[in-house]
């Protein structure tokens, strides 16, 4: 066997070469050395392998954003939670929140001097909220919202739910404080801040729903 033939056989079969080629490798230092070195390289190469690991989360985030931008993927079907936020995004509902915030601003901008007037302002704020809450659609939304959030294990949903509870409690306390001390500027400021917090929180939730993040 010639060296050129040996190399072709080695290339094709590797170390599982036929006896004639093995014999040649024993007799020819060059071919034997070549085969030994290439076998060593091949064996060492296995040590270069890395354990497959998950690509960082940002790869999927970037990919998804790109696929969305190109219109390759469509929005997933809306879950109850997403349907709720889609409903919240309606102009009429946003308007209701804006009215609540404006009312809170008016409490600060035009503080009333009399107990009755302050009570009226708080009552008015509450009334607006109550009116808002009394809307049939909002009731349905809150029920759906509660159900969805209760069943959701999402970290974001859990945080939103927790924050809404905190803000609602804070609003109730502020309203109580303003009723008890209508001339207390700080109490009114706190109430205003609480309304603002809720508005911001809902805005964040709407943003969450919009981006799906």
């Amino acid at each position: 066997m010639r060296c050129t033939e040996f190399e072709l056989i080695y290339q094709d079969l590797g170390s599982a070469m036929p006896p004639a080629a093995a014999q040649h490798a024993k007799q020819c230092a060059a071919c034997g050395g070549l085969a030994a070195d290439l076998n060593s390289i091949s064996a060492a190469a296995r040590g270069l392998a890395i354990a497959p690991e998950e690509a960082p989360a940002r790869v999927w985030s970037n990919l998804r954003a790109q696929l969305r931008a190109e219109g390759i993927i469509r929005e997933p079907a809306k879950s109850g939670w997403e349907a709720v936020w889609a409903w919240i995004r309606q102009p009429a509902v946003i308007g209701a929140y804006a009215a609540t915030a404006l009312l809170a601003v008016s409490l600060i901008a035009h503080p009333s001097s009399g107990t009755t007037a302050s009570d009226d302002a708080v009552e008015s704020a509450s009334a607006t909220t109550d009116t808002f809450r009394s809307q049939q659609q909002l009731d349905a939304m809150e029920q759906a919202f509660s159900k969805t959030v209760a069943g959701s294990n999402s970290e974001v949903d859990a945080t939103l739910r927790k924050n809404l509870r905190v803000v609602d409690k804070f609003i109730a306390e502020c309203e109580k404080a303003v009723r008890q001390e209508p001339h207390n500027e700080a109490a009114r400021q706190y109430l205003y801040g609480a309304y603002q917090q809720k508005a911001e929180l809902l805005n964040t939730a709407m943003e969450h729903s919009f981006t799906g993040e």
Binding site: A30, L34, I41, A44, A45, L63, P76
Partner: protein, 213 residues
């Protein structure tokens, strides 16, 4: 027909996920990504060595896949199709780099098209001393031309069979074997060069010590 694999999420299998992804279902895209991203990321990471670039290539490979998913008819396995795309994406990147580097300095790389490293058959090359060091081997692998490197990575590092590589690379099994042999032979040369450089450095260091004393 495409081979299907049961996944561990929600009973969805690969074939169903492909069908839904073809309709633009985001969940199906994510399912397919989660199913395959480890191997693609590992391949990219091995081939380019840098995390950020591997992430970029992984994203690019999946992006190309998802752009074309509507044309997937299941003639080959989905994973083979994905790996072919991934290898192509990586090779394109490596070749671009190589062109950029070649324009700055004279390359001594063998011509992949014309047969690669030359060896005078029967001439006695010195044997590699001892076992092949992993760090030196990695350094040598990084100097391989992209085509050789891809086949070497797939076969010797990641353990693919030649028939799989042929499918992935879109070549014949014989071509895969030939490329692998050339890659190993070139690695042997590069490792010899490293050994010679080390020996030269050692001699130089010994000379300097001798002169100082």
């Amino acid at each position: 027909m495409a081979r299907t694999r049961q996944a561990d999420t929600g009973g969805l299998n690969e074939a169903e996920a492909i069908r839904r992804a073809q309709q633009g279902d985001e969940y199906a895209f994510e399912f397919l990504y989660r199913m395959h991203n480890r191997r693609v990321y590992a391949l990219c990471l091995r081939m380019v060595g840098r995390t950020a670039e591997a992430e970029d290539l992984t994203q690019e490979a999946f992006l190309q896949l998802f752009r074309k998913i509507g044309t997937f008819r299941g003639e080959s396995a989905f994973s083979t199709w994905l790996h072919r795309l991934s290898v192509n994406v990586v090779l394109m990147r490596l070749r671009k780099k190589q062109v950029a580097e070649s324009s700055l300095e004279e390359t001594t790389e063998p011509d992949e098209e014309s047969g690669g490293p030359r060896r005078d058959f029967g001439s006695a090359d010195p044997l590699l001393t001892g076992s092949v060091d992993r760090i030196n081997l990695q350094r040598a692998v990084e100097q391989l031309p992209p085509g050789y490197r891809a086949v070497f990575e797939l076969h010797d590092v990641q353990g693919y069979e030649h028939n799989e590589i042929a499918e992935i690379m879109g070549c014949s099994i014989g071509n895969s074997k030939s490329q692998l042999h050339k890659a190993r032979t070139r690695l042997r040369e590069l490792l010899h060069e490293q050994e010679r450089d080390k020996a030269r450095e050692a001699r130089q260091a010994a000379k300097e010590v001798e002169q100082e004393s």
